[in-house]
Amino acid sequence: MNNILNHIGIENYIFLSVILFCIGVFGVLYRRNAIIVFMSIEIMLNAVNLLFVAFSTYHQDAQGQVFVFFSMAVAAAEVAVGLAILVSIFRNLGSITIDNLKNLKG
């Protein structure tokens, strides 16, 4: 069985996931809408997951893929908690723009 990376090259996966990761970072910084910010964080995690799988293939090792499961579980848990917080903010504030969250400063 031929290793697929011989056709693509691990570097390409690295670049892809780095760029994807950076897009996630960019989204977190760029958007003020908390939901979109959450989504950006999901993009970041997915970029990493992608790389895990790529490395898993690279090493011909399953552990990377196992780790992706954990990572997914973490992502799910985070999203759940994050959204719960978001909902309570929305209830109190009527908005989910994170720029409105500037009471704590100084």
């Binding site: 977190v28 970041m44 780790f67 309570s88 109190n92 704590l104 400063k105 100084g106």
Partner: protein
């Protein structure tokens, strides 16, 4: 491993109590349970064993730090009795979350596999997000939770990325394997980058400059007990985990990396202390003080092989005085919507005992002798000079001086200002926690060897 299992069992037990409507018993039973776990941990002190394919490695390091975490959790749970008086229906949740948080903490210092490390840190973080936002109707608490959550998951992403790169370089998550591999072969650059990214993520957790911005805001907004938890337990856990991570993976800390650590350490101390000077909110002030203490603790990374004892000592000294200070803060600021210094006016007259304890706690943080904080700094300085970073020590000394400025602001407020109102009630548990914590602190100061030698 037994510790971890016992803790998790205790957490589940907490949840069960809720079902059987035994809320009153939760706190005492938990404390008793934790004491039991503490005993269990101490009984395993000298055994170095790894469990379940090296997922959990119990060593002296892990058991001592676990004991410290357990002790801190006992204090925090005890304080919860008073703090959650008005939230009886949720008390089991709060307590259970704290217990699980402790489980995450223990995982973070006894991991043998990066998966455990990552999951541990996530359990810790998610529990903290929840606790920070737990005062649901309070916008400040919401904001704190949101900020912490956003930035925390951002940092988690970076840690994950780092772990991924390490895996890419090594093909394994097992720290022993990584450690072996890191010495032998020519490594792809991914490995050091991965280490650096994980380190940066952890630096965020310990709130080191420039990744510290969340700390003051979150500390201020969170419910006071959560702040206590963050500034004592969470900080110490993150620091211990970072230390363990770097030492156990035998990550070859290059000179330039050390310079980065030095710079971050200096910056943390300086920024933390300077920013704390003008704060009027005590929690916020302690947040900045925590930033500076993080800077101090980072000094241990400069001599990884020998400084475990000093880190343990510093962490104990710092967190015990933190517990003592926060129990006084909890008492003073109960039923108030802020923690401004104004609330502390005249405490020296209205409640001399607590004022004295807070004073002692602050003096310990400032590093005045016989309190453990002094010896903590001393051994740290000693080690750092040994490692050849005299300049860092001098910066640290200058910072110690600055720090006295704001610690004393609070002390002065207690003793020189007139109290504006009477406080009623003598919550025995707060007294007990405060007294025991500060006694432990002083005992550590009088017999430093007791702790220092544990990891020598």
């Amino acid at each position: 491993m037994n510790t971890l299992i016992a803790i998790i069992g205790l957490g589940v037990l907490c949840l069960l109590f809720e079902i059987f409507n035994l809320r009153k018993a939760i706190v005492p039973i938990t404390i008793l349970g934790l004491l039991g776990v503490l005993g269990l941990t101490i009984s395993e002190f000298n055994s170095t064993e790894s469990y379940y394919n090296n997922m959990i490695v119990v060593s002296k390091f892990s058991s001592t730090f676990s004991s410290l975490f357990i002790v801190l959790t006992i204090f925090l749970v005890a304080l919860g009795h008073n703090f959650y008086e008005n939230h009886q229906s949720k008390i089991s949740d709060y307590i259970a979350i704290k217990i699980f948080l402790l489980a995450g903490s223990v995982a973070m210092v006894s991991f043998g596999n990066l998966a455990m490390f990552f999951l541990g840190i996530e359990v810790l973080s998610i529990a903290l997000y929840i606790l920070a936002a737990s005062d649901r109707m309070n916008l400040k608490s919401n904001e704190a939770g949101m900020k912490y959550f956003l930035m925390g998951s951002f940092a988690s992403g970076i840690i994950l990325f780092g772990i991924c790169l390490i895996y890419g370089a090594m093909g394994s998550f097992d720290v022993t394997e990584i450690s072996e591999l890191s010495q032998s072969a020519e490594l792809p650059v991914w490995f050091p980058i991965g280490i650096v990214l994980v380190t940066i993520g952890m630096l965020f957790k310990v709130a080191a400059v420039p990744f510290h911005f969340w700390a003051p805001d979150v500390y201020e907004g969170s419910p006071a007990l959560t702040t206590a938890l963050m500034s004592t337990l969470a900080k110490v856990v993150a620091m211990a985990a970072l230390y363990k991570l770097l030492s156990v993976m035998n990550a070859d800390i290059s000179e330039s990396f050390k310079i980065v650590v030095v710079v971050i350490s200096m910056a943390s101390m300086t920024v933390g202390n300077i920013m704390a000077l003008r704060q009027t909110n005590v929690k916020r002030m302690l947040a900045f003080s925590g930033v500076s203490h993080a800077g101090f603790m980072l000094m241990t990374l400069l001599s990884l092989s020998t400084s475990a004892g000093s880190l343990l000592y510093y962490a104990s000294a710092y967190s015990l005085s933190g517990i003592a200070a926060f129990s006084v803060i909890l008492y003073v600021c109960k039923n108030r919507d802020n923690e401004d210094i104004v609330n502390f006016h005249g405490l020296g007259k209205t409640n001399p005992l607590l004022a004295a304890i807070l004073t002692a706690a602050l003096l310990s943080m400032a590093g005045i002798p016989i309190f453990a904080g002094f010896f903590a700094k001393l051994v740290l300085f000693n080690q750092t000079i040994q490692a050849g970073y005299l300049a860092l020590v001098i910066v640290a000394v200058v910072n110690s001086i600055i720090s006295v400025g704001y610690y004393f602001k609070l002390i002065l407020a207690m003793y020189t200002k007139e109290s504006n109102e009477e406080r009623k009630g003598t919550p025995v548990i707060i007294y007990a926690v405060a007294v025991i914590a500060i006694m432990l602190n002083i005992a550590l100061g009088l017999f430093p060897s007791f702790v220092l030698d544990l990891l020598a």
